[in-house]
């Protein structure tokens, strides 16, 4: 999928961070989102209560998922929608393609759907001759560049407006050198309006699926989901099976949390509830498993299925901010992505749970209170136990454990280290300190150890 997918996170992150000013710029852009989120959360006095409720509703939904999905299917069908089930990405892509093929659709507009990104739907359809247009502005930008989104809410957050200006001058014929966001957005509006008018079908993701009414709810700021579904006679909504919430009432909690956590807005501009197809059109809902049912059976990781994809954990993560979303090589990057990805393919994504300082900031901002840093730590243990750890790190840790296990070895190691730090050149010491020493000055070695000093001042050890 990504051209970086074959690189491990540390290497990809090092490449990203090699451009120091750009790394700072990226860091600050995302921190700005975090600040907006904080401001929005502070305006809701019962914020923490809302988070607790959101966590509890999701826990209840996950505990009752099979029954709720059946209830959803029954109600959605009664409202006139057709529900499809897909075990994996391939089956999902086939279902979508067959629906489009049956209607002779060659031009499809899509609003944001991380699920279809996960399933690789676009290349699947394009290989079968369809024109697929992502209509979220950020997604259209990365689609023009043939790259995946670098962030689930802000797909083009890694790009500067000058780069987008250059891209648009090639793709949309905007003035060369123009980079005013308003001007560029206007150009995209004109371009995408034509795509909307000529599309024969619209595909959307799903933010929430309501078991008690059979409705799917889609939230956007641009209005692209409404535009893409209100013109053509076919609407396909693709959802991961974890998107279920039991009652419409529960949305009061989630919609108050979602946009505030994502962008600091009180609510998304358009929060559209599709309850069956509109007159003269068809609504097809594709419910996708793709590893989710297996994750439901895995403690403690099942809680990651509560995620409502707000992106707050990415905006606050010190590693994400300084390494960029592409460095993760997965559709959903950042802390939540680093929990989800190893469950799909432990070997391929073994590096991701280590792309964290375990500071816990992600868990603090998570609107559904997923204990992300605990899960990342749990993954580290599981991955190393399964043989996916790095050999160098394992050897170093085993050696360290051997030293720590004996007071005599520990004392000797300390003595050697203090001696080495005094006599060896700084350059050599830095090499010995490994990755840690690469960007740090080593401290000045003390003349005596704590134990030596204690013996000197108190007379015994």
């Amino acid at each position: 999928m990504s051209h970086l997918a074959t690189l491990k996170h540390p290497e990809a992150a090092a490449r990203f961070a090699a451009d120091v000013p750009r790394t700072h710029w990226h860091d600050e852009s995302l921190w700005f989102m975090r600040v907006k989120r904080d401001r929005a959360a502070a305006q809701v006095p019962e914020w923490e209560r809302l988070r607790e409720l959101a966590q509890a509703i999701k826990a209840y939904a996950l505990a009752n998922l099979p029954a709720l999905l059946e209830q959803f299917e029954k109600n959605a069908t009664a409202a006139g929608a057709t529900v499809h089930w897909a075990r994996d990405a391939e089956e999902h892509n086939k279902i979508v393609h067959q629906l489009l093929f049956a209607k002779g659709v060659t031009r499809l507009v899509k609003s944001k759907s991380m699920l279809t990104e996960e399933c690789g739907l676009n290349p699947y359809l394009e290989a079968r001759g369809l024109e697929v247009v992502d209509t979220d502005l950020g997604e259209r930008i990365v689609q023009f560049r043939n790259e995946p989104p670098s962030h689930i809410v802000l797909p083009a957050i890694h790009l500067k407006k000058e780069e987008i200006g250059e891209l648009f001058s090639q793709k949309l014929g905007t003035e060369k050198g123009a980079s005013d966001p308003k001007y560029l957005t206007e150009a995209a509006r004109g371009h995408l309006r034509q795509k909307f008018l000529h599309a024969q079908a619209g595909l959307t993701g799903v933010n929430f699926a309501l078991a008690d009414t059979g409705a799917v709810v889609v939230c956007t700021n641009e209005g692209n989901a409404d535009m893409g579904t209100s013109l053509p006679p076919l609407h396909i909504a693709c959802m991961g099976l974890e998107k279920i919430v039991p009652h419409a009432q529960d949305l009061g909690v989630f919609l108050r949390l979602l946009a505030r956590s994502a962008t600091g807005q009180p609510v998304t501009t358009y929060s559209t509830h599709f309850h069956g197809p509109r007159r003269g059109s068809e609504l097809h809902i594709v419910i996708v498993d793709n590893g989710r049912s297996a994750l439901l059976g895995r403690d403690p990781y099942r809680r990651a299925l509560s995620c409502i994809r707000c992106g707050a954990c990415m905006n606050t993560c010190p590693v994400f901010r300084r390494s960029g979303g592409h460095s993760y090589g997965v559709t959903v990057p950042g802390p939540i992505g680093s929990v989800l990805a190893p469950a799909i393919d432990a070997r391929a994504h073994a590096a991701l749970p280590f792309a964290s300082t375990l500071c816990g900031s992600c868990a603090d901002v998570c609107p559904v209170r997923i204990d992300l840093h605990h899960q990342l730590l749990a993954w580290r243990g599981d991955l190393v136990a399964a043989g996916h750890g790095s050999t160098g790190k394992s050897l170093a840790l085993r050696f360290t454990a051997w030293i720590f296990a004996s007071p005599a070895r520990y004392a000797l190691a300390g003595k050697l280290a203090r001696f080495a730090m005094r006599v060896l050149p700084a350059g050599l010491m830095r090499l010995l300190a490994g990755a840690w020493g690469r960007q740090r000055e080593l401290p000045v070695a003390p003349v005596e150890s704590f134990r030596d000093r204690y013996r000197r001042t108190h007379g015994r050890a």
Binding site: A56, G138, I141, I164, F196, N221, Q249, S293
Partner: protein, 197 residues
Amino acid sequence: MAAREEILTALRRNAQPGAPRPVLDGVGAKFPDLAARMAEAVGAVGGTLVRVPDLPAADAALRALPIHRDARRIASLVPGVGAATFDAATVKDPHELEGLDLSVLPGTLAVAENGAVWIEGARLPHHALVVIPEHVALVVAVADIVPDLHAAYARLDLAGRPRWGLFMAGPSKTADIEQSLVIGAHGARSLVVLLVG
């Protein structure tokens, strides 16, 4: 249907029952003056709120605005408000709505905390009327303001209402280019809420 059965079987095997059904208590925004808060919230999401005593006054206020004055094609689903240039109910294909300058739409209820207005699909001939025009005016009664989304969903009773509906909070917007807020991404470039009563 093999997929359906297989997925549900896996879920039944893996789900851990026992989580209690949460009770949605202890939450709810409180505002001393709902209308004042609504005006503030609509402003915060990029819209404008105009308070008027009755529908004729809403009509007069709307006609005085440039979004109405400069409009060539106007659809109104609120009788007596705005000078509709055609009857949207007679439009067969929503594509014909392209080029619409202004939609005047009824709002079922308004949410003071976030400035959103609920638009009921059953009251509109086309969903596109919400997003395709250059500008949108929503007409909603003061009596239909609720403090927050919890109160809104309690009143909406979605299970009893087929078709679509949406909360619209302000005009269409994006910040996908270097997080610069741009109003008018795909949908309405401006939104005015006419608060009646």
